[in-house]
Amino acid sequence: MNGPPVTSAADAVCGLARRRRVAARTRLDFWFDLVLLLGYTLAYSYGFTGIAIHEWLGIGLGLALLLHLTLHWDWVLRTTRRLLNPRGPDKVIWIVNLALLFAMTLCVASGILISRVALPYLGIYPLAGPFWSRLHVVTAEVTLGLVPVHLALRWRWLVRVGRRLLTWHRAGPDR
């Protein structure tokens, strides 16, 4: 009765599909992160984009960041649980990410509260004030320091996936 495990064709197809699914998720993470970086770089360059694009892009980034956090929620839970382990490898990344979460959220929220184009265009007149203006500037500067750190701490993953995607594109997705 306890013979060797039989690998049926269906199992093989299922395994292949699972592998493909993981690859699809990796591709999504990679491209989505790249788009986030580009969007953030543009949004930070306020003098380059002008106020309207800066504000709409900022609102879009806020939603995209919520999605980014959602997509990586498993990592958040896993790493938070492992924090008690003194030799946990992701401690620095966790702290940087937490700081970035605070800075980015407050930056987008304060940006919405001092909006001069996007929200008034929608008929919403937010409360502006020196606190929110100052908070927006401070958190924007903090995020400019933290975003590249957040990215660079995963540089091996980025290089590895980037290389794989490059070869995948060269070879063709169907091969």
Binding site: S45, F48, T105, W132, P148
Partner: protein
């Protein structure tokens, strides 16, 4: 379903951070703007931001219940500023800062790993020499 659960959790975390920001504004706004008030420059009364909605002359600034707010021209998306080479310097500045920080972190990470590898190799060599019988 799992995605929605995660989205709800992420939204809750973001909401908590926003609430903390609101609480900071309510209870300790002076800690952020207290010393900075003097450094704010008063913009001239007739100054306007490109694309910003402007109140009608003579009207009070306000929301929908206040004075009517009109746009003096079709919404300016600021696309012209994107094409201006002068403004390109702003984008370049941001990219340079990001690139420098990324390079620094990568260099620190690489040197840290190299140092660890070296240390491990040294420890291994030492333990091997300890195991060797004396001649």
């Amino acid at each position: 379903m799992k995605f929605l659960r995660h989205l709800a959790a992420a939204t809750l975390v973001v909401a908590v951070v926003v609430l903390l920001g609101l609480a900071w504004n309510h209870f300790g706004a002076a800690t952020l703007v207290g010393g900075q008030q003097a450094s704010f420059k008063q913009a001239p009364a007739n100054a306007r931001v490109p694309g910003a909605v402007m109140p009608r002359p003579g009207a009070k600034a306000g929301g929908p219940r206040g004075a009517p707010v009109i746009q003096t021209r079709p919404m300016d998306l600021g696309l012209s500023s994107m094409l201006d080479p002068v403004n390109l310097a702003v984008l370049r500045h941001t990219v340079v800062i990001e690139a420098v920080v990324i390079a620094l972190v990568v260099m620190i990470d690489v040197s840290r790993r190299l140092w660890r590898q070296e240390r491990r190799a040294r420890q291994l060599a030492r333990s091997r020499s300890d195991d060797d019988p004396d001649p």
